[in-house]
Symmetry: C2
Subunit: 235 residues, 2 copies
């Protein structure tokens, strides 16, 4: 059965990149945003399965690489934000790594682009429509939300995500672009409940996979006592 | 050898409580801050080892409870923030759960208070002094930073923390009191590097333990290619 899945590399404090770069695109590589992004995705860059898709030699064949390979293999179609698609158009070149239909959420209509085994279809009627089009194109495999963070947050906020995997790099950025923040639009005393389904840890990164159960009220817990334990020692 | 350790329960997005409560103390239990705090610490409340220290009956004897027991047993002394100490004074009663010397970082001098097997010593010359006094009192066991979040962030920012364990509850709060944020004072292109040392996961919570290696520059990675891959597909 097709699931809508997403994965993202983040720091221990939940940032997928450093502070957002507001300058000229040519300066992006030197930005704090890029420095954070490269740090949290270092485990991917080193993985043979990622390097093969990019056309790079070398890389490590290990548990981390297997997770990258699994992600590519399980995706029958992708949904992508416009900023990511624009940024990738040149570097991905004639053989983008997806090798599947990609649906780009944008406000600007554009003809479908075909590059090697990948197609980019531009969807202007919203994220839910893009997910549905990807589902129809996925051939029974999963719909993977490719990113970036803003699009993924929209998908989560809309209740469209079935499974979330965070790859937690062992670094704290302190500030940066956070995946899960106030942009989710949760109310006071409301959370999104998850069920952990898989944990894989390596020296480079901890892979945390969850089923997304959805929004739920945060119910007051009396600490099992009935007493007022507002300052009770809990870790 | 004495290590300076800390542990905290957080949501998947790094919040140890909901949005900070700015109202009257009597309203705290009904606040969003409390609702988030109770959700992320639910696994603790249910643990027999925590309930025993609080004088409550029941609780579950499981892997989560073992981690609570280990934390209490390994701590020879504690360092605590003033807000947490004030909030706990009444509910902890005549037998606080620490059963060890506690050093409270505060601006207000106060005589040492003894309650059962716990003492509270008020330290007015800063967090580094409190950690040193706790180290001298720990009898070779660890110094545990008890919290709250503001104090722990100060200890991390000052480079005083050797080991950090986050207990990640399977919930997203979206907004709330974050442990690791801009208050750490990290520069652009600077991070705090960690080494993962233990991962234990249960249906209730994922326990991530790290050695804190310290601040380091985030070095630009060329993605192994030399090419400009600013939009490359990485999870």
């Amino acid at each position: 059965m097709t699931k809508v899945t997403a994965q993202m590399s983040v720091s221990l404090d939940g940032c997928y990149a450093g502070r957002r770069h507001g300058g000229a695109p040519a300066d992006w590589l030197d930005s704090a945003e890029a420095a954070g992004f490269f740090r949290v995705t270092r485990w991917v860059t080193a993985a043979m399965a990622w390097r093969e898709r990019q056309g790079f030699a070398g890389g490590e064949q290990n548990a981390d690489s297997n997770i990258v390979a699994e992600a590519f293999e399980s995706a029958g179609a992708y949904v992508m934000g416009r900023r990511m698609a624009d940024g990738g158009e040149v570097p991905w070149g004639e053989e983008p790594p997806f090798r599947a239909p990609v649906f780009v959420v944008t406000h600007r209509p554009r003809e479908t682009v075909r590059r090697g085994a990948t197609s980019f279809t531009y969807v202007t009627d919203g994220v839910a429509s893009a997910v549905e089009q990807a589902r129809a194109a996925a051939g029974g495999k999963n719909v993977a939300i490719a990113g970036g963070g803003t699009l993924l947050r929209q998908v989560i906020a809309a209740g469209l995500l079935d499974e979330l995997e965070l790859h937690v790099a062992p670094v704290v950025l302190g500030a940066g672009m956070r995946l899960l923040d106030a942009g989710l639009g949760l109310a006071d005393k409301e959370g999104i409940e998850l069920t952990p389904t898989r944990v894989i840890h390596t020296p480079n990164v901890t892979h945390l996979r969850y089923t997304v159960d959805g929004r739920a009220a945060l119910v007051l817990d009396d600490r099992g006592s009935g007493a007022d334990l507002r300052g009770a020692d809990v870790p």
